[in-house]
């Protein structure tokens, strides 16, 4: 089962640049929540605060509370544990080039001390099936390197890799923006399937994509959360004029 995320007064900085201002929202479990907004509005920064990746930037700083199922991820548990339980898929696929497909997917498990061959085989297969990649690679698991796949396949491999460590949340930062339309459609289908088991947060600059896959959508502008509501409402009858301007293409 997925979990809910409570964000309270989240602020984030890059050095002196105040990138996120007082973000408060509630992300429901087992749903896909989309975050939209023009370039530089802070949606990627926000998502990176949810798995404590923002602080890996030497000038990154965060204040405020993020609670996942009641647990404050900044004060109650370690960053390492957070990142295992809140997985991330990046804009550009980044499989490990020196590892086979199998080793890519198993990498997270191995880090956590799982060495039993049977367990690894099982999880690798399950993760690749969940990522809808199993049928395409099942014969070449150990023969092909992670980087030898096509762009769309690589991204699904990254999704499988993230799923293998059994997260509760899956963060996706513009996962299909570097891919062709066919691969994009495959990834969107995937999100539909994964919703039943994980809570998904997807950053996208493609409004049609948000409308297709997400139950809820948040609109970010200049580091603030302008509006957060059901996707249907955002796209048909937005409450805030700025949202309406963005939706109708008046800027960004």
């Amino acid at each position: 089962m997925g979990v809910s995320i409570e964000v309270n007064n989240l602020n984030a900085w890059y050095g002196a640049n105040h990138a996120l201002l007082d973000i408060t929202l509630h992300i429901p479990p087992n749903e896909a929540t989309a975050l939209i907004g023009p370039s530089g509005c802070g949606k990627s920064t926000f998502v990176r605060c949810l798995n404590r990746m923002h602080e890996t930037n030497p000038i990154g700083r965060v204040t405020g509370g993020v609670k996942v199922s009641g647990v404050d991820i900044y004060s109650d548990i370690s960053a390492v544990e957070v990142r295992r339980r809140i997985g991330m898929v990046f804009q550009r696929p980044n499989p490990f080039p020196t590892m086979s497909i199998y080793d890519n997917v198993a990498s997270g498990l191995r880090l956590n001390g799982f060495r039993n061959r049977r367990v690894l085989d099982e999880v690798v297969q399950r993760s690749l099936q969940q990522a809808a990649l199993w049928d395409e690679v099942k014969d070449d698991l150990k023969k092909k390197s992670g980087a030898s796949l096509s762009g769309g396949q690589q991204q699904r491999l990254c999704i499988a890799r993230a799923l293998a460590v059994d997260p509760e949340v899956l963060l996706m930062d513009e996962p299909a923006s570097a891919l062709d339309p066919v691969s994009t459609a495959k990834i969107e289908d995937l999100i539909f399937q994964l919703k039943s088991q994980y809570t998904i947060v997807i950053v996208t600059h493609n409004m049609q994509q948000a409308a297709r896959v997400a139950e809820r959508t948040g609109f970010f502008l200049n580091g603030r959360l302008v509006e957060f509501d059901s996707t249907h409402k955002i796209f048909t009858n937005p409450g805030d004029k700025r949202t309406e301007d963005y939706i109708t293409g008046r800027f960004g």
């Binding site: 990746m53 890996t56 390492v80 991330m88 980044n94 590892m99 997270g108 890799r161």
Partner: protein
């Protein structure tokens, strides 16, 4: 301009031809067995280069064993762990090590390092590792081990700076991918950086080996110039470069000199092969113009 660029080839050709022609005497007299025989007697004109090959290899490998972990450790520290402010000064300091001339290293080794080894380090080694036969009395301080230690200090900067370059060339997306799986910093370095950079790191190690093989002055000053093969690393020995440095100027006999030149020829060929191998490995990782060595 083109002519001057071609001069690089001319220089290589020049060195090769001079070496070959001057070693002809020795090549004819001893053949290739020269490199497999243990003999070095200027009086009877009986020469065999095996002791020097042994000395060169043993001291270089010893130097690598000491230098590689330290060099990679420094590289990891500077690239991934240390505060940004320290990065510049630390990398400057390690490059400064590369700027010290060999003869100055030798001077320091004779008067500071060797007494230190003889007084504090070697007795401990004899006590703990004496059973291997590698560390035994008599110990004068001067010998293969001292040469290995000073070599380690001298090849450290080149291995370290190249390792740093290949590590920096690893894209940050790889680091983020590992972190996002829930990895500790060391795991991120191990899986996300070192693993991706390993070919280049091997290249830098081989480059360090090339440097060690040809290092002359410092080694000549602390190795003891004894052309015999011993299992005891604390015994005096000699390397290909050190025997040339120590004996060439006084070699009056043609055969004697020719034998020394033949050793030089072997050194030339070996270092070229090792350097080519290393460059190919490093080029492959950093792509484009290869890094400049100190």
């Amino acid at each position: 301009m083109l002519l001057c660029a071609l001069s690089i080839f001319a220089i290589v050709a020049l060195i090769a031809t001079e070496l070959v022609s001057s070693s002809r005497l020795s090549l004819h007299k001893f053949g290739f067995g020269f490199f497999l025989r243990s003999a070095w007697d200027p009086v009877t004109n009986n020469f065999g280069a095996l002791p020097f090959i042994y000395g060169t290899l043993a001291s270089s490998i010893l130097g690598l064993i000491i230098a590689v972990p330290l060099a990679v450790g420094v590289a990891v520290f500077i690239t991934e762990m240390c505060p940004r402010l320290l990065r510049g000064p630390l990398s400057f300091l390690t490059e400064l090590l590369a700027a010290i001339p060999s003869v100055v290293y030798g001077l320091w080794a004779i008067f500071v390092l060797v007494p230190l080894l003889r007084g504090y380090v070697n007795p401990v080694l004899i006590k703990i590792l004496g059973w291997t036969g590698l560390f035994q009395t008599p110990d004068f301080g001067i010998g293969l081990f001292a040469a290995g230690v000073i070599l380690a200090i001298m090849i450290l900067p080149i291995i370290s700076s190249l390792t740093r370059e290949v590590m920096t060339a690893v894209p940050s997306a790889q680091r983020e991918a590992v972190l996002a799986l829930g990895a500790t910093r060391w795991e991120m370095i191990r899986v996300g950086v070192l693993r991706n950079a390993r070919i280049g790191i091997v290249g830098s190690i081989i480059l360090g080996l090339g440097r060690a093989l040809g290092e002359t002055m410092a080694v000549a000053m602390v190795i003891g110039s004894n052309p015999t093969i011993h299992r005891n690393l604390l015994a005096p020995a000699a390397t290909m470069a050190s025997v040339i440095a120590n004996e060439f100027a006084e070699a009056a006999d043609d055969t004697y000199r020719s034998a020394l030149v033949e050793i030089g020829l072997a050194l030339f060929l070996v270092t070229i092969v090792v350097n080519i191998l290393a460059r190919l490995l490093v080029w492959g990782v950093t792509r484009g113009t290869p890094p400049r060595t100190a």
